[in-house]
């Protein structure tokens, strides 16, 4: 690590991201690739592993004091799981401090509804990891 980069890190708190696999979906290639890319970009990354309930995810997010939660859903359960996580975030007073983003197999038609409910962004198949890094850097609270 270069000296200048190290200095920046000491002055500025690193962005902390929780990458989570909610529900019963076992497809974790994307979640793991993104977790690693975010780590390589200089974020602190916590990856939950599979089968996380919305309660577990928000609890971990609180304990780990994260700035961002990223959910990866490929099983079609996004319209159930995102609202549950958003409701728990509200209940735990996290909504103003934590950015919720998501990715996976999510039809275009569903994206406006999820965003209106409070999901900051949905990243579909083929998204370069660099765009996710840029989005988080620009929007993390």
């Amino acid at each position: 690590m270069s000296a200048t980069k190290g200095m920046v890190l000491t002055m500025e708190k690193r962005i902390r991201v929780l990458v989570a696999k909610p529900g019963l979906d076992g497809h974790d290639r994307g979640a793991k690739v993104i977790a690693r890319a975010l780590r390589d970009a200089g974020f602190e990354v916590i990856y939950t592993g599979l089968r996380q309930t919305p309660e577990l995810i928000t609890e971990t997010a609180l304990q780990e004091d994260v700035n961002v939660i990223g959910l990866s859903i490929l099983s079609g359960s996004h319209n159930t799981i995102f609202p549950k996580v958003l409701a728990l975030m509200k209940e735990k007073n996290m909504s103003d401090e934590v950015l919720l983003i998501g990715g996976g197999v999510i039809p275009d038609d569903d994206i406006p509804g999820l965003k209106a409910a409070g999901v900051a962004e949905i990243f579909g198949p083929g998204t370069p990891t660099a765009s996710i890094v840029d989005f988080i850097t620009a929007n993390a609270k």
Binding site: L24, K32, V33, Y47, G49, L50
Partner: protein
């Protein structure tokens, strides 16, 4: 040496090229040599390395005439929403000329939870059909003669339960179990390393698998008791070599477990089958198939002392690679699938599922599935690729690459043996880390444009959001819950409780085969959640190794 002059000419050719490369450099990221010549196949011995199709070591295929007698089984993986909806899709596919069924179950079913369990919320009927009890299974196969059709079921941790349900439906139809044909995936090791629908820890899981081997060898002799799967390992990011190496290592673990349980290798090995992915690199995929057959044949003969030729044949179902489908310009996926189909056929598959163009976005519509099935039919009837057995054999490149893939596969198998076998390698996280490394490398190659994906990182266009995708009716969850309420109110609960107690006792005795007990519980209309609940209580649950 006879090839001395050829060697000299090869040196001259390369020297000549070096000069022109300064002006016209070759593309980056080319995996194989520029040119293959007889020098690359000098060591090849026709009789011992290739032989004849239907003969050891089966490099050229497992049947003597391959597709000249009968095409591969065209088997589209399908299932969504309720048993009623999926039954309609199966009947449609059979009417379109599909020759075998392949059932996709939803995640709660695959992980042994009922539809009314809180953890199932939002998942019921989504990635496959929801099956809670025998009552659903009766509807799923209503009007389909199980004595005539062969059925593949993608079910792993609760494979005993779904197989028992299938047997129960067949018995109700009056079909003898000896006549049942089909496959259960039943491959738990790749669930730990790549697919994620595990329930129990490795030891009791391996017991359930060997229980099935034993039960079927006596009662359902034509059933393929396991489909040892590389598909999901590849989809998780593995290379072609890693796909076959990790899967064959899993295969070795299953054979060892069955032998340890007291079974004779030739009694169960002929019912072992494999499942490969078929990816974009057409000729590498052909060589992967050929190499995998040779490796497995040698393992069964030399390592396990199998005597029957049927025990040495690697029979394989394949599916075109879902991870190669793009959400961008989805029509292009039809071309990808056609090339992958060609590779599967040139490599000598026994069965094939072709993906539909819209599957990077959702489950496929009926129209998209028809095009995917037609792709297989066009390759079969119009392309000529199926007319000659192993038509690429003898190509310098094909034989050299087959040898190379075989060698790299042996290197991995040796490494996994050193770690204590596939189970230990998974518990140590070795296989998962290898797959993750490859997945990350692939992604970085795409992002740096060392690897071009048409429509994704080159040749992009402005696109409108996709229309006309299949949507699973969200009401299926409520419908399944209502069915469960009715089932629990109308079945004979006292009988079921007795059957579940008997299952629990049997589960505690590791010498008992659990299949008959599970069959009893299924016939008493026990639900998948209740039956797996008993086993969860006795066996506990697997805790995954998480690494990044």
């Amino acid at each position: 040496m006879a090839n001395e002059s050829l060697e000299a000419k090869m040196v001259a050719y390369n020297a000549k090229i070096e000069k022109s490369l300064v002006k016209n450099p070759e593309r980056n990221n080319l995996a194989h040599n520029r040119l293959y010549t007889p020098l690359d196949t000098e060591e090849l011995d026709y009789e011992s390395d290739l032989g004849f199709p239907g003969e050891y070591p089966y490099t050229r295929g497992v049947q003597p005439t391959m597709y000249r007698s009968r095409f591969w089984t065209m088997r589209q993986y399908a299932g969504f929403s309720s048993a009623e909806e999926s039954n309609k899709r199966y009947k449609y596919l059979l009417a379109q000329g599909q020759t075998g069924l392949s059932c996709a179950f939803d995640l709660p079913t695959q992980i042994g939870y009922d539809s009314d369990n809180a953890i199932s919320d939002g998942e019921v009927g989504k990635v496959g059909v929801a099956i809670d009890s025998l009552a659903d299974m009766e509807i799923l196969f209503d009007g389909i003669d199980l004595g005539k059709v062969s059925t593949s079921m993608t079910i792993n941790a609760p494979a005993t339960v779904l197989l028992a349900m299938y047997i129960a439906v067949a018995e109700k139809q009056g079909v003898a179990t000896e006549n049942l044909k089909g496959t259960i995936q039943n491959d738990i090791l790749k669930e730990y390393s790549a697919r994620g629908t595990y329930i129990f820890p490795p030891k009791p899981s391996m017991r359930l698998i060997t229980n099935i081997f034993e039960y079927c060898s006596k009662n359902v002799p034509q059933w393929n008791t396991i489909s040892i799967s590389g598909y999901h390992i590849r989809e998780a990011g593995a290379t072609a070599v890693q796909e076959i190496a990790f899967t064959i290592a899993d295969g070795i673990a299953y054979v060892e477990a069955a032998i340890k349980a007291g079974l004779n290798v030739d009694d169960f090995a002929k019912r072992l089958s494999f499942f490969w992915d078929v990816h974009n690199n057409v000729l590498e995929e052909v060589c992967k198939l050929r190499a995998s057959r040779r490796v497995w044949a040698k393992i069964m003969k030399e390592r396990f002392g199998a005597q029957s030729p049927n025990s040495m044949m690697l029979r394989v179902h394949m599916q075109t690679a879902g991870s190669t489908l793009t959400a961008q310009q989805p029509e292009n996926n039809i071309v990808r699938v056609a090339l992958q189909t060609a590779a599967a056929v040139l490599g000598g598959t026994q069965s094939l599922h072709t993906n539909s163009k819209d599957e990077a976005l959702a489950l496929p519509t009926e129209d998209a599935v028809r095009v995917a099935l037609r792709t297989q039919q066009i390759v079969a009837y119009e392309s000529g690729l199926a007319d000659v057995v192993d038509p690429l054999a003898g190509s310098y490149y094909i034989e050299a690459l087959t040898n190379q893939i075989e060698q790299e596969c042996w290197d991995y198998i040796e490494k996994i043996d050193d770690l204590g076998g596939a189970v230990a390698a998974i518990e140590k996280g070795y296989i998962q880390r290898e797959i993750q490394e490859s997945a990350y490398k692939w992604q970085m190659e795409v992002e740096s444009k060392q690897r071009i994906i048409v429509g994704v990182n080159q040749f992009q266009i402005e696109e409108k959001p996709s229309e006309g995708l299949l949507r699973v009716d969200e009401s299926v969850g409520e419908m399944q819950k209502a069915k469960l309420v009715q089932l629990r109110a109308t079945r004979d609960n006292a009988t079921l409780t007795a059957k579940l107690t008997a299952l629990e006792e049997a589960a505690r005795d590791e010498h008992k085969n659990l299949m008959p007990f599970i069959l009893d519980a299924v016939n008493a209309y026990g639900t998948i959640g209740e039956i797996c609940g008993v086993l969860r209580k006795v066996f506990g649950e697997y805790e995954a190794h998480i690494s990044l």
